[in-house]
Symmetry: C2
DNA sequence: CAAAGATACATAAGAAAATTATGTATAAGC
DNA sequence: GCTTATACATAATTTTCTTATGTATCTTTG
């Protein structure tokens, strides 16, 4: 899920998938809980992903062939690692590019400068 | 509503209120249809607001005391102008600032540079 | 001048995506 | 031993948008 300490929840809606794909495109293998912690850390707790939003999304991405999973036993606990498929890697790139473009458009609308360039 | 030609609809969720408040904070008095056209024009049709999303939002903002309305007759047609209240003006400022901050956070998450400054 | 498209409002049914709550279970820290 | 952190999962509800529909006037174009 998305529990947002700093931003109104409506603002963050729809960005979860982009965030997850970005993290997976950088780290190759991550498990759910790890993703929530990484986002919290990187955003100074401004964006906090909740499990109720994350796990269903991960399951959906798996069903769509965007990620594959590998379940590992850590002591008696399980950990489910997610990694991008080839399709997923393409999709991640597209999503991030789309978001960068979206930010540019919003900057124009809201008179924020300078615009963001995705290189 | 939001019919988005260019962006996946999920991406834009939650930005409608920010956009509307921004436009009203610049133009003082706008009517619904005018807002849809202005957004289309400013974003090169990348973001197209649909009536099914816009009108309910405007009614909600009015119920919350963020905007007031003035109905004007244009020939035999009516036009409903919306303008920010004092509360609304504050709210608009907050919302825009929040969005700018959100963009900065997302830039960090997604490695997009440079970051956006809201001056 | 008739038809099509643009202007201008409104609402309701449905879908999508999150929140909130709940559940289970192990490991670590105090 | 109790609390907090780790680690998964799902279900009910809410929010927010999409899609569809409705009404009506004005303008453009063939």
């Amino acid at each position: 899920m998305y529990l947002c300490v700093m931003y109104s929840s409506e603002l963050i809606k729809g960005t979860l998938k982009t965030i997850v794909l970005k993290l997976l495109s950088e780290t190759k293998q991550m498990y759910g809980y790890e993703i929530t912690q990484k986002v919290k850390e990187l955003t100074d707790s401004k964006i906090v992903i909740t499990e109720g939003a994350l796990y269903p999304l991960l399951h959906q991405l798996e069903a769509e062939g965007i990620v594959t999973t590998e379940t590992v036993n850590i002591g008696k606990r399980i950990r489910k690692y997610y990694s991008l498929t080839q399709t997923g890697t393409e999709r991640a790139k597209d999503k991030i590019y789309e978001f960068a473009d979206f930010i540019n458009t919003m900057n124009i609308l809201l008179d924020l400068k300078p615009s963001v360039k995705y290189v």
